[in-house]
Amino acid sequence: MADVPLPKEKWTGSIGELELGNSQDKGGSRRSVRLGGNRGMPFLSFEDGERRMIAMAGLVADSLDEVPQPVRDAFGDDAKDPVRWARTWAARGADLICLHLTSTNPEEGDASPESAADTVMAVLKAVDLPLIVYGSGHEEKDSKVLEKVGERARGERLLLGHAEESAYKSVAAAAMANGHAVIGFSNLDINLAKQIVILLTDFGLGKGDIVIDPLMAALGMGLEYSYSVNERIRISALSGDNMLRVPMICDCTSAWKAREATDDVPHAGDTLERGVWWEATTALAALLSGADILVLGHPEAMELARMAVSDLGGEN
């Protein structure tokens, strides 16, 4: 029989490891999740024999203003309370909670940093999963909110979102002072992704404290750009580019913003089912192009993503 040699790429680098969530012996109160470490392109066991962890983060927000309706509906009344919402995710098998403190937005509720930090502490008390915490996307306010959250949750090793080229110092400082990790965001460009890691490491963060978010565009909304930017980032990292050797987070919840995901379209089936597949398809593109953390809104989309990771031989 013909011999088919395995066409392995000659990678010289690997993705750095990162831990989220601290257990009691490390000064926290929760499970920890270890990510990264990959030595090959996603899910190719002939390049990297180890089963790699893909963490699934469930979206929780403390205000429903920006939460897509079908995602809200999936949690019913639980979505009105971030603590109950987070508990539901934990019961449904999420690895992480991704908490958006939307209520702090000065143009909406303008909740105080203190009350936002109270919410974070309540969620930390209610579930033993590691937390990703975002502000509201309002630059000035976020720096105050994340500073307060960082302090109060000291020792729990949160992942704080996010730092970007134009605004990274306050988030980075909040993380460094309290032992948290940071998401470095960039807008669909490998060079910008590298730039934010350089800025954060120059500021003093270790590479083991950084996760990059190169912006996951949803299916039908530019998914192909993200797919290729992610692949290029992963290939550069494996080829030895030191600044890109960090785990990657892909937020797939933007899938619900695509009209085609949930609009009535003749012959395109049930709108909720289609929406769930829209998010799951976005998640699958993220997985195959290099994601280490997926943020998902709908629990059924998370089930599909989990099924995919398990079918591909990964761990979750």
Partner: protein
């Protein structure tokens, strides 16, 4: 594929220009990019031609099924990653029917396949192929079914049958439609190759062992059968991803001819099957065969294929048009953006979020984003005015106001002069639109 310099070594170096390129090196560069043909050079030596012809044979063979206007091309891919150039031949989707279905069931299934037809950013998204499986074990019944399906739909066909006698009769009956034959296994390969040869129809080789597949390729090629497709028969998603990757990488990185063919994959039913299919669209599947295709999963699958097979150098463009967003009336303002789909979709979703009624004018910038288009001279006061005139925007909105992207604030004066509208400079980032629009009202 050889590099331009390697190709150049074999060219006559006369720089005669008869190939329509100024120099032999320029011609070599076109050849390396598949943009010129070797035959365009009238002064090629025989030795040079032979050296280049073998090295320029595509690493993955192009296999065509169907005839006339209804064909599906598979293979002829040159990249592992779409960002290196592009993926050329979109994964084809086949829905499977079988000869044990009643006429009603058969027609219902074919109708369902046909109903999955969508238009999106100027392209038609649909299934491509009907696969007809022989389950009855009855050759006469199988051919009858094939003939009935042929009348129902003019799409290319896959004949799925492992019995070499039935396949031979069926293939010769259907040969004018050039169906794909599925398929040969190590037991029936001799007969199947003979049928492929006599009917001229391409053949799928099936084995879950890539070494055996390579052997089967060798058997077929010895008989002169070259239009081959490989079915690596994965039992799960991991095997599929790995086998497809090994096949694609061997063909492209190692120019391993024994695996240089398109890939056929049969999808299991259920959610796992759809997850496999989505994976196969991204990772090297050429033809996917489905036993069922739930409507709610079809559109995500078709859109994923459209996204992944987009040429990274030619952005998807939306139609220049005046789009009503949030039910605008005559008092709603006009905003404009470019026809780059990503820009348009982002702006659209942010306007929708604001819930403020707006007329959104899309200006043809050849698919460039706002700042790039402006820098390249594709977004000018004149092109905006022309777009507004062509869409009759001023008849729809009487507010006399045009909101322009903050990135091109410097166009304000010229735009005011050419359109006569009051120019309001909008935010630089689309994400600031909801707040901006709400404050405007």
């Amino acid at each position: 594929m050889a590099t331009a310099i390697e190709i150049f070594k074999h060219l006559p170096k006369k720089n005669c220009g008869e190939c329509k390129y100024p120099t032999c090196l320029a011609f070599a560069m076109q050849l390396a990019n598949n943009k010129a043909k070797l035959d365009d050079c009238p002064h090629m030596s025989e030795a040079g031609r032979n050296a280049l012809a073998s090295s320029s044979a595509p690493p993955i063979r192009l296999v065509r099924i169907g005839t006339g206007r209804n064909t599906v091309d598979m293979g002829d891919e040159t990249e592992l990653y779409r960002h290196d150039k592009r993926f050329f031949h979109p994964t084809a989707f086949a829905l499977r029917v079988s000869d044990d279905l009643s006429i009603e069931e058969l027609e219902k299934k074919v109708d369902h396949a046909r109903s999955l037809h969508f238009e999106r950013v100027g392209q038609v998204l649909k299934l491509d192929i009907v696969e007809v499986e022989c389950r009855s074990g009855d050759g006469v019944k199988y051919v009858q079914t094939l003939e009935h399906v042929s009348k129902l739909v003019d799409w290319p066909l896959v004949l799925r049958c492992r019995d070499p006698v039935i396949m031979s009769a069926a293939a010769n009956r259907m040969r004018e439609r050039r169906p794909l034959l599925h398929g040969a296994d190590p037991d029936n390969i001799k007969e199947m190759v003979a049928t492929s040869k006599s009917s001229g129809c391409p053949l799928v080789l099936c084995s879950d062992d890539l070494g055996k597949l390579t052997d089967m390729v060798e058997v077929a090629r010895k008989e002169g059968v070259e239009d081959l497709v490989l079915d690596p028969m994965p039992g799960n998603m991991k095997d599929m991803l790995e086998r497809c990757t090994v096949i694609r990488r061997s063909a492209i990185r190692k120019t391993f001819r024994g695996l240089g063919y398109p890939i056929y994959l049969g999808m299991p039913v259920g959610k796992n099957g759809m997850l496999m299919a989505l994976t196969a669209v991204m990772k090297y599947g050429s033809l996917l065969s489905f036993e069922e295709m739930p409507s709610s999963q079809a559109l995500p699958l078709l859109v994923l294929r459209q996204n992944i097979y987009t040429d990274p150098q030619v952005p998807i463009q939306v139609k220049p048009y005046l789009y009503p967003v949030n039910n605008p009336g005559p008092d709603a303002p006009i905003l404009f953006t470019t026809n780059f789909s990503l820009t348009y979709f982002t702006v659209l979703s942010d306007i929708e979020k604001s819930k403020v009624p707006v007329w959104l004018q899309v200006v043809d910038t050849e698919g460039l984003s706002v700042l790039t288009a402006y820098s390249a001279g594709k977004l000018t006061a004149d092109s905006v005015r022309n777009a507004l005139e062509a869409s009759g925007a001023n008849g729809r909105s009487n507010r006399g106001m045009l909101v322009i992207p903050g990135m091109v604030a410097r166009m304000s004066v010229k735009l005011n002069e050419s359109t006569g509208l009051q120019i309001v400079v909008g935010p630089k980032e689309s994400s600031a639109l909801p707040k901006f629009l709400r404050s405007m009202n």
